[in-house]
Amino acid sequence: MLSDSISTWISRKLESARRAWFKFARNPLSVVGLVIVLGVVLTAIFAPYFAPFPQHAGRYVDFGAASQPPSSTHLFGTDVFGRDILSRILFGFRFSLTMGGVVLSLVVVPGVTLGLIAGYLKGHWIDAVIMRITDIFLAIPPLILALAVCSVLTPSLFNAMMAVSLMWWPWYTRLTYGLATSLRSEYFVQAAEVIGAGKPRILFREILPNCLSPILTKMALDMGVVIILGSSLSFVGLGVQPPKPGLGTMVADGAKYLPDLWWIAVFPALAIILLVMGFNLLGDGIRDLMSLEEV
């Protein structure tokens, strides 16, 4: 009996996954996005194996091989320290992905929770306090606050992630707040209240599942934005520190050597664009998927 219901459950999940994939794959661009993202993630994880010169991403200098244009040994050329740019880019993906992943993981849970509480308890003083604080953080363009915090601390990827997380959560609170406020007057919520369900249960079992699609969509699209933010911070000198191969850092360093040693800046720039494009296409695909499902 039990095994029957388990196998039915599995086959039902598989069926809905197949359907979802079918819907998702209708737009070829979304598939391209997925391929790019998966490709980059795999490359980042297995960088030491994919990179032709993995040690160049760390402590390495060889003036004899410096400033070489793209060739068969060094597909993307070498920089002024003699390091292989392709290898450094592959390791650089690690920093970008870490930035996006860490920031989103840190930010989504507190942001969404606060938004749920504030939205459901609309009119209560807790709501006012939460939303006032959110407003303060939303009062300035995101980059400025991140810069201010970054500049106080010693520049590093870790501190940049903390700074960006610190001012990213309000967006999720605002989003969830809007969703929760409109949902709290729905029938199923009122029904749960009538039967005496506790507030946490209502929040997490009734309201949250219905907010998921916009939140997930935003998360996917946010990856691209956070990666751009991270590379901008590195470009200014507040993110990944040299000699670590952060993509934004590499563009900033390479910009000095344009136009002669163009490859030092151009390839990392293209890498950033590729990465962000991947997440954007993927995010668009997820959004289409979610909205179609609702319909």
């Binding site: 200098v61 400033s67 136009p259």
Partner: protein, 540 residues
Amino acid sequence: MGVKGYVAVFLAILASLLICVLAMASTEESVVRTTWAWPTYIDPAVGSDYSSSVAFCNLYDPLLMPTADGGMDPWVAESWIVSEDGLKYTFTIRQGITFHDGSELLAEDVAFSVERLLAIGEGYAYLFYGKVESVNALDSTTVELHLLEPFGPLPYALSRLYVVNKDLVLANLEDDGPYGEHGDYGKKFLLTNDAGSGAYVLEEFSVSDHLTALLFPDYWAYVSPRAPERIEMLGTTEAITVRTMMAQRQLDISDQWQTSEGLNALDKMEGVDVASFFDGSEMYLMLNNTKPPLDDVHVRRALAWVLDYDAVANSVFPGSEVAVGPIPQILPGHNEDLMPYRQDLDKAQQELAASSYADTIADYTMEIHWVSEVPDQEKLALLFQSNCAQIGIDIEIVKTPWLTMIDQAALPETTPHIATIIVAPHYAEAGAMLETRYHSDNTGSWEQMEWLQDSTIDSLIDDALGTPDTAIRFQKYRDIQQRLFELAPAVFMIDKVEKHAFQSYLTIPTFTSPIPVMGYVFQFRLMELDLDQKAAAIGN
């Protein structure tokens, strides 16, 4: 209106802009443009970095003028007499020098400048602080300077005393200030105005990005017949901007912070040359003597033996020379008998083995901080890191903005283990370097990040500085250098060359025989601008 109309208007705007652009192509005016690392402070009591010093050298006149061979020429002061005890200097002030506003330069202006410099205490004041007791103008052409103790190199230091127009400053005081009856001592006024008598008159000063000045027709000293009528100092060192402007002949001399790759590219440009000269500065790896394991002289010497000096002098900073001791070789008072360090891994291992950290050295990770505004220093840091790895020493690289470096230098706890710093002497004599670099009174500065604090060295330096006789003083300097060499408080890396790309239609005599005092190489009145050649170059 419709799509077509919209597009038409847009194209019309674009076209008219292009026409105006072509009309405003660069002209062959008599102007020399240069790029600098900003900020610049044109108040001679406030500024002290390179671009500020260049401004002083052109807008103001110093009491004495340094020469290419390291001597001092009379300038505002025509002559001086020193008292027997070395405590009183009497200067005779030259007559016939006019300030930019037309008034005459008198002894009271000189006295006022000294008082103002000491009261404000910024910029080059530290050269005189604690040494000068008082100053007074005896009459319109005589100034008396009283010292607290004999100060042998005083004439050299006076190349940093710039004479300010007393009446003009007093007429522009802000009453609300910390200097009693002198209000703010004219600091606000001199932030954006000039009160000088120099070869150029300030025309426009934008705090954030540029300075322009015009040739002063009534200047008393020599002005080359083809000196530029106008000079512009632009506050940017962006590689691509420098490149573009050089190519279009809109920039005449580049700053010294371009990368070697950038300079190579500029050199290849037609009509552009690269000048390279020793500016009297030396680049050090300053070792924080208070932080273990650097508190052991053997570890410090090991680091001195492990660095690949040749790679530094040939690959990282091509054109420079390996240093010989703590003082740059072109500075008067340098000890030529010292042996330069060269890479010797065996000696490095021996020194390491002789230290108290022989067995535990692997437990220490030392940080090397390089200055982010000097990109080539990153190469140096990576090189040093790989050199040290060969004897088992672990190095971490930290990119540090200049202002953070200054901040970190203030306390021994915050000073990094190793810092790559360039130090230039404040006046053209070894004593200047020794005092700023190794005297305990000057700790907490970016020029002395070793925290040596050795009382023997202190008293030797004080004694040397108090010796008015040059030959004896220089002998004392040599002795101090020998001791410092053995103490190895820093790694004495290279005598740095200063490199500037410049247009070949500009002749700059000071590039070929440079004056070893920062800023004086850029006395624009000595330069010669060939306008015909410039017009031809623009045409290309």
